[in-house]
């Protein structure tokens, strides 16, 4: 009897302890998640303040970063018109007009729709392009090669992988920035007819690949920009020493602006495997990686969906920064979505 009550007490204590420990953790995680979700995020990445006016001569350099401008930063921009003009001469500025584009290809109809969607993108702006395909989806890889070679682009995937040193990678990166694309493989989150019970397991498998992939695809480019940023102040020779000192004394805000000018997006249109990529990005935001470093999540629901979202759409609706639908009825039901007409 005594033994039984001891066991009971221990079990009760363990239960209470686990509740006491897990509740704050769960709360903290929930709060982090809330702050990571686009609709609750204070910085409102997707609602760019378009009312910010910039001097004409710097508009082109900083327009791509204007999404994060608050009023005090605007003042800095105004007073630094000249400095920015000088920076504009520098080669890295060209990069701020570019957007690292990660494209998820879901196979079959999803791939066809996605390639149709991106066919209008200006490849000089949306580069480098990283395609993420299912591990056994050879048809999509074939379609990517056909699609890109029609625009005289090179596949630099193998170049990327075989290189081990940072210097070699840098060269490959540059090649990718010039005219190239890379293809990356990811395990599927859910196979056709797979039971819902085992789906979390395969999702974890996808996540194990997705997290380092997202980190590699987006952060690598950012590091490159930061590297360029760091070298900027010393390079423009025509700057006066006064300007230079003023730049270095309060350089961090304006540099941050410039560095954050490099955008990245993740384009998805289903099916479920893209959830792993989106979760990797949301996870990055949850651990406090700034908005500028994580790609904007863009989801485009299939044209075939008229009144109801696909499973992938339902899952990604709360996570996406931009959610596009192709039928007005869906726009009515999902107010955060955008409807701009038939896209495919």
């Amino acid at each position: 009897m005594e033994f039984d009550s001891n066991v009971y007490n221990v079990a009760l204590a363990a239960l209470l302890t686990s509740i006491i420990v897990s509740v704050p953790i769960a709360l903290a995680v929930a709060l982090r998640l809330r702050s990571a979700l686009p609709q609750y995020r204070p910085s409102k990445k997707l609602l760019r303040d378009t009312s910010v006016t910039l001097p004409n001569e710097v508009t082109s350099t900083s327009s791509s970063s204007s999404f994060s401008l608050s009023s005090d930063k605007k003042v800095i921009i105004n007073t630094r018109g000249n400095t920015l003009n000088a920076i504009k001469e520098n080669s890295f500025v060209a990069h701020t007009h570019r957007c690292t584009t990660t494209i998820f290809l879901g196979s079959g109809g999803h791939t066809a729709e996605m390639l149709q969607l991106i066919s209008g993108l200006d490849i000089s702006k949306y580069s480098p392009r990283h395609y993420v395909v299912g591990i056994d989806d050879h048809a999509s890889v074939e379609k990517v090669h056909r699609f890109e070679s029609s625009r005289h682009q090179r596949d630099v995937t193998t170049l990327f992988k075989s290189l081990t040193t940072a210097h070699q990678r840098q060269i490959a990166e540059d090649a990718g920035h010039l005219n190239g694309y890379t293809i990356h493989r990811i395990p599927r989150s859910r196979h056709v007819h797979q039971s819902l019970l085992t789906t979390p397991l395969t999702l974890v498998k996808s996540l194990i690949v997705a997290i380092p992939l997202i980190k590699h695809l987006t952060f690598l480019s950012i590091q490159k920009i930061n590297h360029h940023c760091a070298s900027v102040p010393s390079q423009p020779s025509e700057q006066t020493s006064l300007e230079r000192s003023s730049l270095s004394s309060s350089s961090s805000p304006s540099q941050d602006l410039q560095c954050s000018g490099r955008r990245s997006i993740l384009l998805m249109n289903g099916p479920g495997t893209c959830l792993a990529l989106a979760l990797a990005v949301i996870g990055a935001r949850m651990i406090g990686i700034s908005d500028e470093l994580t790609p904007d999540l863009v989801f485009v629901e299939s044209f075939a969906r008229v009144q109801t979202l696909s499973l992938a759409g339902k899952l990604l609706y709360p996570l996406s920064d931009v959610f596009l639908v192709q039928w007005p009825k869906l726009k009515e039901r999902y107010p955060r979505s955008h409807y701009i007409g038939t896209l495919v």
Binding site: S65, Q307, L324, H338, G341, V344
Partner: protein, 186 residues
């Protein structure tokens, strides 16, 4: 006869016995003939092929192989029957009228080719969203939509497929402009 007018019937990878049966009925074949069609291609996928369309010799072998095409002549219509092809694109291009299941892929492919299209819904499949696409496009006049397979004869007779609205070509600029705007690339 010098005029060559063909109908292409496709069920994709689905099983759609009712449509295949309806197509093979003498009434419907006669109707197609009366409407001036001379050729019929039937891609039956996993549906059961009516005996009418089976080749007289080597029955079993011909129908089990996906690539084998059977050609029969019924009601003075030249009829080509096959299970599946690597690409249905050529058959779509050659067709004057396409009768399709409600699959989004088939619908879009036919509309992109600016073909006259009759979509027949498979009530045995409870996949609602496909039916939604067919009826939504029907509301805009891009295709003829039959709810029950018995309506197919009526849909053919009414010649609603002659006066469809042309499906607009994809506008890739729409999405590109939207993204440019979002990213501030202007």
């Amino acid at each position: 006869m010098s005029t060559h007018r063909s109908i292409f019937v496709t069920v994709g990878t689905t099983r759609f016995d009712k449509l295949v049966n309806a197509i093979s009925s003498p009434d419907l074949l006669q109707l197609m003939h009366d409407l001036g069609f001379t050729h019929l291609s039937l891609q039956h996928g996993n549906s059961i092929v009516p005996t009418l369309f089976l080749p007289t010799i080597d029955n079993s072998e011909a129908t089990t192989t996906a690539t084998v095409t059977t050609i029969v002549k019924v009601e003075s219509m030249q009829i080509e029957v096959y299970k599946y092809k690597a690409s249905l694109h050529d058959d779509m291009i050659n067709a004057d009228l396409i009768i399709s299941h409600a699959g989004a892929g088939s619908i879009l492919e036919a509309l992109r080719l600016q073909k006259k299209l009759i979509v027949v819904v498979n009530e045995d499949l409870m996949d609602n969203h496909q039916q939604e696409l067919g009826s939504a496009l029907h509301e805009q006049g891009y295709l003829v939509y039959c709810n029950v397979f018995r309506d197919l004869g009526k849909a053919l007779r009414d010649k609603g497929y002659e006066s469809l609205v042309p499906f607009p070509a994809p506008n890739a600029k729409l999405f590109a402009d939207f993204l440019d705007e979002h990213l501030g690339f202007n």
